[in-house]
């Protein structure tokens, strides 16, 4: 048994942390938050140059051919720095979908462009309120053309390519849903940015009007691909959440040591100490669940669905818990635009809703535990 990242993976983490500390200070996050740019182009290019975008993409498609564990390590740092770049949509969703189900030609066309930072990708799954489910997908596919509306689509307004879940039949079965690969510059596609909780990352509406699309993977396998894709992305976003939770905890701890009230550091009041201790507990449980998810992801283990759901639920809780209490520790200062606490609060609550919210994952977890117990 080895239940830790390797030394090389830890070095990669250090490297990414130093890189992000320099290139992605809170000021850079705020540029995007304040609407001055749709995403941080220079940082994105830097990610490409560092090899971060293609870390899990095989060498024959222009990547580094490392693996999912390396990607987990990077995800944690991206989450910690709140990097305002379309990393999760492009790497955990689009590139993963291509790797899972893309044809040789599709992989050859898009993966090298993703690895080099030229192409931004995303997954267009949701159509308004509700959890991931085949029934919720109305966007219609017929004769290789798509019509309908997707929202919210993460980073949809800046993406070049989208994986789109569409309805190709109405038998009421999962096989009604097929995945398509869509070049978003094609005719009949309109994307517009929507106001969202965390403007440091975009959310868009994309309208498809008889737009051209290529099938991705087996037509009848669409929903099972979506489920697998969500499971895999859940672990990776879990690491972003763990990174964010840790940083929010550190911010709270540092402020508690610094701020004096009633003649003593507020960190000497037990109410504050115990709040921070509980944040540490939540962050630690989440980290351990995510490590298990990382193992399952990297080995494609049969345990992945259950591990992913546990990682996702735990990491969501931890980031929300740490982000909200970090504001509490900061008092009035925590509620100013100027302090960075709200950046973490926004990101925590936005990530909590990506990939389906807690009730979806709670359902998935229980269903999967039940299957395991029955086996």
């Amino acid at each position: 048994m080895n239940f830790d990242f390797s030394d090389e993976q830890k070095q990669l983490r250090e490297q990414a942390r130093r890189f992000l500390a320099e290139k992605c200070p809170p000021k850079a996050v705020r540029e995007v938050l304040d609407g001055k740019a749709p995403y941080d182009r220079a940082l994105w290019q830097g990610f490409a140059e560092m090899g971060f975008l293609g870390v899990a993409i095989p060498e024959q498609y222009g990547g580094a051919g490392a693996g999912q564990l390396e990607l987990c390590v990077l995800a944690e740092e991206v989450g910690r720095a709140l990097a305002p770049v379309p990393f999760s949509s492009t790497v955990y969703l689009a590139a993963e979908a291509l790797l899972m189900a893309g044809s040789e030609a599709q992989k050859k066309k898009w993966l090298p462009r993703i690895a080099s930072g030229e192409a931004i990708g995303t997954l267009a799954l949701f159509e308004g309120r509700g959890q991931p489910s085949p029934a919720a997908i109305k966007l219609a596919a017929s004769d290789g053309r798509l019509s309908g509306v997707k929202l919210p689509v993460p980073d949809g307004a800046i993406a070049h390519v989208a994986i789109v879940a569409a309805r190709s039949a109405s038998t009421g079965r999962d096989s009604d849903i097929a995945l398509y690969l869509v070049d978003l510059s094609a005719d009949g596609i309109e994307a517009c940015e929507l106001a969202n909780l965390d403007p440091s990352r975009g959310q868009a509406e994309i309208r498809f009007n008889n737009a051209e699309a290529e099938p991705l993977g087996e037509a009848s396998e669409g929903w099972s691909l979506v489920t697998r894709l969500l499971d895999r992305a859940a672990v990776l976003i879990g690491f972003e959440q763990v990174g964010g939770a840790d940083r929010a905890l550190e911010m709270g701890r540092d402020y508690a040591l610094d701020r004096i009230a009633f003649g003593r550091p507020i960190g000497s009041f037990q109410a504050i100490k115990h709040m921070l201790a509980d944040m540490y507990v939540a962050a630690t449980l989440a980290r351990s669940n995510c490590y298990y998810g990382a193992w399952a992801l990297s080995t494609d283990a049969a345990e992945l669905p259950e591990a992913a759901a546990a990682a996702r639920i735990s990491a969501t809780q931890a980031f929300q818990h740490c982000a909200k209490n970090n504001i509490q520790v900061h008092g009035g200062m925590g509620f100013t635009w100027e302090f960075d606490c709200h950046l973490y609060y926004r990101r925590a609550n936005a990530l909590a809703l990506a990939l389906g919210s807690q009730s979806y994952w709670e359902d998935q977890l229980i269903e999967r535990m039940r299957q395991r117990n029955a086996a």
Binding site: M1, D4, A277, V281, S288, I313, S314, Q358, R370, N373
Partner: protein, 419 residues
């Protein structure tokens, strides 16, 4: 990258160890008790008191004879010199029979390691093997009526008399004192210095003249802990552990060693609740299909898995020769309140009938027993509040509480005991 990638695989050596352990357990475990042990849970014993003691001791002895007791202890002291991972493998293979170790947790987890660190070589060879084999049971005599969380405020006195020390005072909440053969005892040897500086640690024979053990009936009706009175009890100086007045540091070693004996079997109540909800029928179907039930279950399940993987991370670190981090201090804090909440929820699902705790009760009254035992878990071994203080101070580096008594000689500290 592949060589040391994350994995849960056994090395060939570990696989051989597992196979050997499995075969030995299959041939030797007391199978007749498997079913009651499976059903046992916090607050509900598998077997009645006398039988439990007998069965647990017999199993421990059998293990010791075949080299399966206290696996991580050196062979000379009754152990096996096993690696941390081999211990985990053993625990996985021992399964429900591991519940029979309950009598030895304090002795093996706290008293043994303290003896290993401070007793003479001869004492270690004399006392540790029978402790490992369960022939002798040990208890921990720390808490007193006026000093539980504030254990350094203890008042049991030890006064030097030639080659002996004479002990007078009272301990309380001593688990297992009524069936223990030995105990480690912390006493005050100098009341004229600040409280942490005048303590001394000993071990003693619980049959020594002047030791009186009085069982206490717990809130849940059972009697696992005791008051222990000391009246002019003589302990030879040779049974002192550590230097005179250095008992506080010795006690810290005891507690730190506890961390090294990390296990993966943490009682949370979650598997029990999961099973229960799978079988329970509500008006519109099985409880486990109910949205609200699922949400509750999922939230507890991820805490339980988080604890499990936190200890596996620590064991992994330990096996590479790293010191386990402080993560493990969260285990008891999280598990104790969880088990209490889980029990309450299981009763809530039963509606009015949840109040019944006899043979009519669902799941044979398991959750009722859990509910009544859980408050003790939140207190024993450091209360929730003390655990949070430890995390805040030692892990996060926050300031210690303001201590008005820290630098004051012990005999000048104002006191108000209880009762």
């Amino acid at each position: 990258m592949k060589g040391d990638a994350m994995n849960f695989d056994d090395t060939p050596q570990e696989a051989a160890f597992r196979a050997e352990a499995r075969a030995w357990i299959a041939a030797n475990a007391p199978k007749q008790y498997e079913e009651p042990l499976r059903k046992a849970s916090l607050g509900r014993l598998a077997l009645d008191g006398a039988t439990a003691l007998e069965v647990a001791k017999a199993w421990q002895k059998k293990k010791a004879q075949a080299g399966w007791a206290c696996l991580h202890w050196p062979k000379d002291y009754g152990g096996r010199g096993a690696t941390p991972i081999e211990r985990v493998i053993w625990q996985q293979e021992e399964g429900v029979f591991g519940k029979l170790s309950f009598l030895f947790i304090i002795g093996h987890g706290m008293c043994g390691p303290t003896m290993m660190a401070y007793a003479s070589e001869e004492q270690k060879r004399n006392y540790l093997p029978p402790l490992a084999s369960g022939e002798q049971i040990w208890c921990q005599l720390f808490s007193e009526p006026a000093s539980g969380s504030d254990v350094a405020g203890l008042r049991t006195r030890a006064e030097r008399d030639g080659d002996d020390w004479i002990i007078n005072g009272q301990k309380i909440w001593t688990s297992g004192a009524h069936y223990s053969d030995y105990g480690i005892l912390i006493t005050r040897t100098d009341p004229s210095v600040p409280k942490h500086k005048g303590l001394t640690m000993f071990f003693l024979d619980m049959k020594s003249p002047g030791v009186e053990v009085r069982p206490i009936k717990q809130a849940n009706g059972q009697s696992d802990f005791n008051e222990v009175y000391f009246t002019d009890v003589r302990i030879p100086d040779a049974q002192r552990l550590g230097s005179v007045n250095d008992g506080w540091n010795v006690s810290l070693t005891t507690l730190m060693n506890e961390r090294m004996s990390i296990g993966t079997q943490i009682t949370t109540g979650v598997p029990e609740l999961f099973d229960y909800c799978g079988n329970l029928m509500l008006e519109d179907g099985p409880a486990i299909d109910d949205r609200a039930v699922r949400s509750k279950l999922a939230n507890w399940a991820v805490k339980a898995s988080g604890l499990k993987y936190t200890s596996l991370r620590a064991i992994s670190a330990l096996s590479k020769g790293e010191r386990p981090g402080p993560e493990n201090s969260i285990g008891k804090l999280v598990a104790a309140s969880m088990i209490q909440e889980v029990a309450m929820y299981a009763l809530d699902l039963q509606g009015a009938a949840g109040v019944l705790s006899g043979p009519e009760a669902d799941a044979a009254g398991k959750f009722q027993a859990m509910l009544l035992r859980a408050p003790g878990t939140r207190v024993e071994g450091g209360t929730d509040e003390i655990m949070r203080n430890i995390i805040a101070e030692r892990v996060l580096g926050l300031p210690g509480d303001i201590r008005v008594d820290k630098d004051v000689p012990f005999n000048q500290i104002p006191t108000r005991g209880r009762g």
